[in-house]
Symmetry: C2
Subunit: 239 residues, 2 copies
């Protein structure tokens, strides 16, 4: 293995928190209240499906950097329309509150305990496409003990653009190889490795029992772990 | 008093940490090793004196945003020259290490305990002109339990420019009035108040016993406190 990293940088949606379960939990009463006949988990998947295309407009330069809260809100209105609901007929405060469901996602059961152990030895920070307020409110609610909130908004670039990884290392004042990306997504790790970062794969089932992608590591990542506590074990952190 | 704030934002140099004592501590062996006959506390004051003029070049637009680690390094070389030393004759690694003395400043004795109490009730983050790596390394060493690292580098503007305060509130997703700046400097608080932030003055003696400025509050700040633990008391935080 390469030199011990200075910082562990974490993908968040799917790797640290269960977005599908959290969005479905908040969608259920919202959908019922507005008479929208859609399964809450299907609603969550549909909202999430619009995530990559929305960021692509920023990545391509067609649109200036726009934080994820704004993209989530635009995507919410689109999903509501495809479900036959008119977002203009739903009170603004209710839409804004539902959009903040992304700030209220629960961590996977091992995440908080693992992060505390990792924090004793490494700088730990999100390197997520989520914006700062989203990640901060999520951390405060869930008890995620980040040392700093980094990611797309600080780097002003969305993963997997190289700038998202390279600027984060530069902001930390270390070479890319002194950073390790922790993610449940092989594509994110591949982009980080191409920039010189170390990589750790943690398997998750973010899409539920029917998941077909990212079921295991697809490259020889520096570390492959079952959970954040297993990651802490493998990186030599005290129990 | 106005509504309870969502976030407490902290000036750092002088308010949270003792820059004069910390720089003097690291300067003493450096100066001795290189035969520079200058009092370490005078060296610290001289290095710090160049802080505002260096940022002014960025504020005026004469220079693009440049992080404080870079400005500190340029200022260090200037101070060495005025002390009769040639920085080019000092090994690069030694200059870089000494420049990171700003990452190793100690908090005032009440700071860590006060921040822990404040964190239980509020979002707490630095709103400092220090760059992210500086503030992060400082926090990690000193145990400052920030929820996020905000400030000039994230806002891409140096205090007291309005953008430093306003962009920080906007990044947090709240109006300026939901933020309270905590500082030992009346001028910083005045600039924050002009942007609509709430304000808290905490008296410090950052310049040592001969300090002549900021000996007390110069406006009717929302809160005036003796220490961070006193601030926690005044803001109704649990012991």
């Amino acid at each position: 293995m390469a030199a011990t990293p200075h910082a562990l940088l974490f993908d968040v949606f799917g790797t640290v928190v269960d977005w599908r379960g959290g969005i479905a939990r908040d969608a259920a009463p919202f959908l019922a209240r507005h008479g929208i006949a859609m399964d809450p988990h299907a609603f969550a998947e549909s909202w999430r499906d619009r995530y990559q295309p929305a960021m692509q407009a920023v990545r391509s330069g067609a649109r200036p950097f726009t934080r994820l809260d704004v993209l989530h809100r635009e995507n919410l209105e689109q999903v509501l329309r495809t479900a036959g609901a008119d977002p203009a007929r739903i009170p603004e405060a209710e839409l804004a509150e539902f959009n903040r469901a992304w700030h209220r996602l629960d961590p996977w059961p091992d995440a908080v305990a693992g992060l505390h152990r990792l924090k004793a030895r490494f700088v730990i920070a999100p390197l997520s496409n989520g914006n700062i307020a989203l990640l901060l409110n999520m951390a405060k609610r869930a008890g995620l003990p980040w040392d700093a909130i980094l990611g797309a908004e600080v780097a002003q670039a969305y993963k997997p653009q190289p700038e998202a990884y390279l600027r984060t290392a530069e902001i930390l004042g270390v070479p890319p190889g002194a950073c390790m990306l922790v993610a449940a997504h092989n594509s994110d790790l591949a982009a980080a490795r191409a920039c010189g970062l170390q990589t750790a794969f943690v398997g998750r089932r973010e899409h539920g029992p029917a998941q077909t992608t990212d079921l295991g590591p697809e490259q020889d990542w520096e570390v492959v772990a079952e959970s954040f506590t297993d990651l802490a074990d493998r990186l030599g952190c005290a129990p």
